[in-house]
């Protein structure tokens, strides 16, 4: 830009009397390997942007953003999970020396140190060398931080019970339940109601309104419970008679079917 001494201005204002012509130099005749930002370079940027945008739009169309059931502070059975980019922090807090009495280590000191180090990187690594291989320490620290973030995120993903996460917090359609019916009476008098809720909306156990299971399967589960990976997800519960069990199973199986 043309600035400084010798500049003529209009009157006493700062608008220069000598106006820059509106026609730029023609870069097609420019000999060097650099090129003008507009239009040469910008076009390349925009092509990348357009490809990126198409991918992005396909993602939004293919995967509707999730929405769980309305927040219910009284639901104590819910296992929270942060958004994926905070998973490594979440995982860090599970370790012995980063939780309990050392919680401050995992919650504040480690992330705080990492962030401060990142912020002050130019002063921690002041040498003129720019190639990663020629400044081994900063590179090593960054790789260490990177691999621990990747490792912690991965650990947290594999250790999370995704099936349970899927089941909890689902938007449960309100199904009209006939509380006078024989099936509901049996349900209410047995232990089922303690875990599966007054309206079968779920609680400690999952909702039973749309199980998509047959009556036989439900009866089987009621008697034997569910054991998954040696963890008892539901204890064997049914202690009543065969006849009542059949009515109960039929009652639960047909819920949500009617339309």
């Amino acid at each position: 830009m043309h600035r400084g001494k010798g500049m003529k201005f209009v009157g006493d204002s700062r608008v220069p009397a000598l106006r820059k012509p509106n026609i730029p130099k023609d870069y097609s005749e420019y000999p060097g390997k650099t090129e003008a930002f507009y239009p040469n370079f910008l076009l390349k940027e925009w092509l990348i942007g357009a490809v990126f945008l198409i991918g992005f739009l396909i993602l939004t169309v293919a995967h509707p953003s999730p929405l769980e059931a309305q927040a219910d502070p009284t639901d104590t059975g819910y296992i929270p999970l942060p958004d994926w980019y905070f998973l490594f922090l979440y995982q860090l807090l599970k370790y012995e020396f980063a939780s309990g009495p050392y919680n401050i280590v995992g919650a504040i000191i480690v992330p705080g140190l990492a962030f401060t180090a990142l912020l002050l990187a130019p002063f921690l690594d002041p040498g003129p060398e720019r190639r990663p291989i020629k400044r081994p320490l900063p590179t090593a620290f960054m790789l260490l931080a990177l691999s621990s973030i990747v490792y912690l995120t991965w650990e947290s993903v594999v250790n999370h019970d995704w099936e349970a996460a899927e089941a909890q917090g689902q938007i449960v359609e309100e199904v009209a339940i006939d509380k006078e019916s024989e099936g509901y009476q049996i349900y209410a008098n047995a232990t089922c109601i303690n875990c599966h809720g007054e309206n079968l909306e779920g609680g400690v156990g999952p909702a039973l309104v749309t199980t998509e299971k047959t009556a036989e399967e439900i009866a089987e589960i009621a008697v034997n419970g569910i054991t998954k990976n040696d963890v008892v997800a539901m204890p064997p519960s049914w202690t009543g008679s065969e006849e009542e069990l059949a009515v109960l199973a039929e009652f639960i199986a047909t819920l949500g079917d009617e339309e």
Partner: protein, 224 residues
Amino acid sequence: MLNKLYDWVDERLDITPIWRDIADHEVPEHVNPAHHFSAFVYCFGGLTFFVTVIQILSGMFLTMYYVPDVENAWNSVYYLQNEVAFGEIVRGMHHWGASLVIVMIFLHTLRVFFTGSYKKPRELNWMVGVMLFGVILGLGFTGYLLPWDMKALFATKVGIEIAASVPVIGEYIKILLAGDDTILGAQTLTRFFAIHVFFLPAALLGLMGAHFIMIRKQGISGPL
């Protein structure tokens, strides 16, 4: 006609040098993916900006339907996602854009780090960039609560507890964020909304302006 209008404005405000400076600055070949394909790593900054623009736009449109209130927040999100035409897509853009902007800024940070581009004279710009990273993480954290669904509530509970574990001032940070020392509810939601929609975006725009002005002033770091 348009030229005349432009000349009229230019004569008074001398706007040509402003955009000429942006349009005519020379871009070195080592950042140009058309010369070396590996130069695509230099695109992450631009893509971060692009997703940020998507976020700002889609966010503006989402607030046409969204209400930051415990009674209606979830219902309005449910309504805009399921009843309004293209609601699923606009909310999808904002939701997935939030993830992508973090991916992109992360990759951009790594590029700058491994090319040593934060070195003198660009220390200040690096620090502004790290602060931008912080602001974007803050936007992600506060935005997570807004739909007021189960995971929003419980994840935010954990997040606020983490903030509360800061020594000495932790309890105050918690009250400031949640609006109450025990309840995570109506006041938390409006606070998070205000932070997500006004405070952090204001910081974001200011820092981004500084980031770009510094890039124009200093140029792109040379090839390795």
